[in-house]
Amino acid sequence: MPLSDQDILQRVLQGDQKAFGEIVDRHKDRAMTLAMRILKNKQDAEEAVQDSFVRAYQALGRFEWRSSFSTWLYRIVFNVCSTALTRRGVPLAPMDDDTQEDRHLELRDPAAAPDIDLESSEVKKAIREEIDRLPAAYATVLTLFFLQEMSYAEIVEVTGSPLGTVKAQLFRGRTMLREALAARLGRQETWGLSGLAASVV
């Protein structure tokens, strides 16, 4: 049975510095993905992730286990990337002030049955590319929610944004992704988008 993060970090704190390498191995790909979604540049993302691991290691003694290690680590990654964006003079993204939580895209008068091949490599490639193109703030919450499987509360902890903003960004991010894909592939009808009430209630 593999050791938990906590077990490994206890070893690190007891002086086994090399054990931290296991932590790096476990989290580097997801940390890199988060950094890429925010910074949109491989070299910058690599530097940010390296810095984040080093900062986490240096601050390990102050970590109080109020949250999981991964939540704490991704908060560091988020902060390092946000700082890097600020240095570029680019804000993370327009923050959604709208904290309305009961929004829905409702299916009304749906379109005819679709014929698009959702399993095609073209569609999959388009989806991956559009995910990478999303504005940083939306891409961040989508990544934390879907890839890291974080709860709303954990995302709030990582980003420091209010709960309503997180929910709004999650919703808006998915909507943007959906619209971008529809526009790109030019098959709105086949995805039933023309029949959707596109307005946010």
Binding site: Q17, Y57, H104, L105, P114
Partner: protein, 179 residues
């Protein structure tokens, strides 16, 4: 017929993708409604892509991080060579070079090129020594017949110690900054 909302379909797609919900347990409406099913399929692909599309970190990431958090001198080999060990190693190298220069070629009664070179350097040294002795009063220095070797050894030691300190406090920091 009441369609499911996109949010409801999205939640179902996510639960199926995570393995929390079997497809057989989907709502009856979803299974029978072509439009809702199409939306469900689309959301399924979207959710799966969001859950699996990662940017893998380079293989060198772990090594780069570990090099930054663990000082290079702490590996088993470099521990031996660090600080005083390095100075001693450098001193040993210098001693071996000097010793090598003083050796003759094996199997020859004639002095080898190394001995010739060493002899030539000694003659330059003697010329300089005589010159200094002759001009002691002009230069204002005291005559010293036997202290040169000692001075050279002391100077060598300080030079090597200085190199060791530069390596420890400047070289390694520079390397860390580059990393």
């Amino acid at each position: 017929m009441e369609h499911l909302t996109v949010e409801e379909i999205h939640d179902l797609a996510m639960r199926v993708d995570r393995g929390d919900l079997q497809k057989q347990a989907l709502p009856a409406h979803l299974i029978t409604c072509g439009d809702c099913m199409q939306e469900f399929r689309f959301q399924g692909v979207l959710v799966h892509a969001l859950r699996t599309h990662v940017h893998p970190a380079p293989r060198s990431m772990k090594r780069a991080v570990m090099n930054r958090i663990i000082p290079a001198g702490e590996s088993a080999l470099t521990k031996i060579l660090s600080a005083g060990g390095r100075v001693l190693a450098m001193a040993a190298v210098v001693a071996m070079i000097v010793y090598g220069l003083s050796l003759d070629l094996p199997g020859s009664s004639q002095p080898g090129p190394t001995s010739e070179l060493f002899g030539q350097m000694s003659s330059y040294y003697n010329v300089a020594k005589e010159f200094l002795a002759a001009h002691t009063s002009v230069l204002g220095t005291s005559k010293n017949d036997g202290g040169e070797k000692g001075k050279i050894l002391v100077m060598t030691f300080f030079v090597l110690a200085g190199l060791g300190l530069v390596d420890k406090f400047v070289g390694r920091r520079f390397i860390r900054m580059k990393l």
